[in-house]
Symmetry: C3
Subunit: 272 residues, 3 copies
C-alpha cells in the first residue's frame, strides 16, 4: 500500500466489510460519552454494548467482536472490569483498543494505562500529549486537550508501536498512524476545528477503531487510517450543514450514516 | 376492549391523563441512556428523577409516582439500590416496570432479574430474546439486539405474565402485549427500523411504561399498549422528517411532544 | 453597578473574558447530565473535565480553573471525591460552585450539601425549594422541580449568602442573584418555559457559573448574573428556532455558541 488512493480504496473496502459484519463493540468507556459513543457506533453501522460489572465484563469481552477501553472517568471498580475484560478479549482472540484519556499527571489512569498497554492492544488512540505521556516522554495534556503537536509525538508513537505491537493513532489537525515492524507513518488531513467543540468525538472514534479492527482481520493500521478518515470526513460534511456545535453534532451522526466507500475514496486526504 | 379503535381511543385517553398528572418517574437505569430517558419523559409530558444511592433510592421510590428498573449496566451497588427501591415502591403501592436488558447469558443481571420479577412488577418490557430468557426458555440475545422474533416468544410471555401477574410488552417489528388472567394478546404494528439506530429508544420506552402505569390506575396492559403506540408513532413521524439517525433522534423527541390523543387514535395500528 | 445596562455591559465583558481564558472546569456532577454539561461548556467557550476517582479528583481540582459540585446522583464514593476536590480547590484558590440538587428530603445529599456549603463555595445555584432547604427553611422540592417561587426564597437566599460568603443564584421564571455584604438583590427576567423541558439545563448552568467564576476574579455575583443572562437569552433564541424540546435543545447549544457581548447587552433583561 503506497499511494493515497490505495489507502482510501482499502479504507472504503474495510468500511463496507465492517458494516457487513456489524460488529458488537464492548465499550468500557467514560461516563461523559457513553450515549454519544453508542450512537456513533450505530450511525456508522456497528453495534454497542456497555457492560460495567467486572464479572459480566470479563464474560462479555470474550463474546463481543471487539473491546474499547477508555480511561476518561476511571474509578477503581471500573479499572478491575477493564483488567478482566482485556484478559478475556486476549484469550478469545478479539482485538481491543486503548484510549488513554488524560494519561500522565493523574495517578490511577497513568498506572492503569501503563499496565494495560503491555497487554497487547491492537491499537492505541490518543492525542499527542497522551501518546507522549504513555510512551514515558511527556507529562500529559490539559484534560482531553493536547498541549503538544502531532509531529512532536511521532517518534514516541513509533517507539510505542514497536514496544507494544499496537498500531497507534495520534489525533490532531493532521492525524498520524504508525505501526510496528518499520511500517511507514501515514498522515490523514481530513477534519475541521468544530470536531473539538463536541464532547466525545475522540472517545467515540476509539469505539469506531475497535469496530473497524473487528473487521480488519489483524490489520489494525488500516483500521486506524479508516477511523481517522471516517471521523474527519464526517466532520467536514457536518460543517457544510452547520457552523455551530449543537446542530453540528447532529449532522455528524447523520454523516457517519451517509458516508460509504465511494465518499471515503473521493474525499479522503491521505498524505503519502 | 375488543376493536383496534377501542384500544387507540383508550390509549389516547391514558396519554391525556398521564400528561395531566405529569408523574415523577424514578429511573434506576443504565448509564448509557440516562440523559435520553430523561428527555423522552420530559418530551412526553412526565418528569424524570434519577437517584442512585441505595438509601436515597429506597426513600425516593416511595415518593415518586412510578419506578423503572433497567439492568443494562448493572453493578453490585446499583443492584442493591434496585432491591430497596422495588421494596419501597411495593410498600407504597407505586407501580414499577422491569426492563431485563440482555438477561440470559450474563450472571449478575440474570440472577437479579429473576429475583426482581418475582417482586410483583406492574410490567415487564423486553425484546423476544430477553423475554424468553427471563421466562427460562432461552439464552438471551446479542446485547440489546434480539436474536428471536416476537412470535417465538408469545407463549413464554404469556407464561411469564401468568406467573408474575405483570403485563408483558415484547418489542419488535410488531410489538406484543400480553397480560395475566387469560387476557387476549394485543399486537401493535407501528414503528420504523430507524428506531433501532438510536441508542436508548427501548430503554426510554421502559420509562414511558412506568409513567403510563402511574396514570393507568392498575391497567398495566393498557399502559403497555399505549407505550408501544406512542414510541411507534413517534418513530414514524420522525422518519418523515429525517432518514438519518442523528436528526431522527432529535425529531423523535419532538414527535413525542407533538403526539396527542387525536394523533394516537388516527395513526395507531393495533392488530385485533 | 446600578442600572440594568451596567449589568448587561459588565456581563458581556465577563463573557468575553471567559472565552479568552477558556477555563477548564472540573465537573463532579450527576450521571444524567455529564454529556450535555460538557457540550454546554464547549458551546459557551469553556472546557470540561470530569474526573471521578477520589484521589484523581483531589489532584485535578487544584489544576483546573474552577470546580462544579452537583449532588444530583450522589453516591458515597462520589461524595468522598467531592469532599477532596473541594478541599483541593480551596487550597489552590480556585472558585467552586455548589448545586444542591433535590436537597431537603433525601439524606445523603442533604447532609453532604450542608457540610460542603460551609466550605466556602464561590456560588450556590439552585431553585427556590433547594435554596430554602439548604438554608434550613424548607423541605425541598419534587426532584429537580421547585415547589416554591423564587420570591419566597429571597430572604433565605440572603441569609445563606451572608452565612456562607457565597453568591446565590436562585433560578425560576425570574432568576434572583444575591450576595453577602448587603449587596442589592438582582433579578434577571430572560428565559422561556421550554428550558424546563430539556434535562440538564439547570445543571449545566451550574458548570457555566463555575466557568464564569474562573474569569470573574472574585466577583461571583457578576458571574451569577452573567450565567442567568446567558442561559435565559440562549433559551429565548432557541425558542425562536424551535417550539419542541428535541430541536430546542440542539438550538440551545447553537445559541450558547452564538451569543456574544453585543447580544447579551441588547437582549439581557436585568430588573434593577
Amino acid at each position: 500500500m503506497q499511494t493515497p488512493s490505495d489507502w482510501t480504496r482499502a479504507a472504503g473496502a474495510l468500511l463496507d466489510e465492517m458494516r457487513r459484519r456489524a460488529p458488537l463493540v464492548h465499550c468500557l468507556t467514560n461516563h461523559v460519552v457513553t450515549n454519544f459513543t453508542a450512537n456513533v457506533l450505530l450511525a456508522a453501522g456497528a453495534a454497542p454494548a456497555m457492560i460495567h460489572d467486572p464479572e459480566e465484563s470479563a464474560m462479555f469481552a470474550g463474546v463481543a467482536s471487539a473491546l474499547l477501553v477508555n480511561v476518561g472517568t476511571i474509578e477503581r471498580e471500573q479499572a478491575e472490569a477493564m483488567r478482566r475484560a482485556v484478559a478475556s478479549a486476549n484469550a478469545a482472540g478479539r482485538p481491543w483498543v486503548l484510549d488513554p484519556v488524560a494519561v500522565g499527571a493523574l495517578p490511577l489512569r497513568t498506572t492503569l494505562s501503563a499496565e494495560l498497554v503491555a497487554q497487547h492492544p491492537a491499537m492505541v488512540r490518543g492525542n499527542a500529549s497522551e501518546i507522549l505521556a504513555l510512551a514515558g516522554e511527556g507529562e500529559g495534556g490539559r484534560g482531553v486537550d493536547s498541549t503538544q503537536g502531532v509531529d512532536a509525538s511521532a517518534e514516541a508513537a513509533i517507539g510505542l508501536a514497536e514496544r507494544t505491537g499496537a498500531a497507534v493513532l495520534v489525533t490532531g489537525p493532521v492525524d498520524l498512524v504508525v505501526a510496528p515492524g518499520g511500517a511507514a507513518p501515514v498522515r490523514i488531513a481530513n477534519g475541521v476545528p468544530l470536531l473539538t467543540r463536541v464532547t466525545g468525538v475522540g472517545c467515540s472514534q476509539g469505539a469506531l477503531c475497535a469496530a473497524l479492527c473487528a473487521a480488519a482481520d489483524g490489520d489494525a493500521r488500516l483500521a486506524a487510517v479508516t477511523a481517522a478518515l471516517l471521523v474527519g470526513i464526517a466532520g467536514e460534511r457536518a460543517a457544510r450543514v452547520s457552523s455551530r456545535p449543537g446542530s453540528f453534532a447532529v449532522a455528524l451522526l447523520d454523516a457517519l450514516d451517509e458516508i460509504d466507500a465511494t465518499i471515503l475514496e473521493a474525499e479522503g486526504r491521505v498524505l503519502a
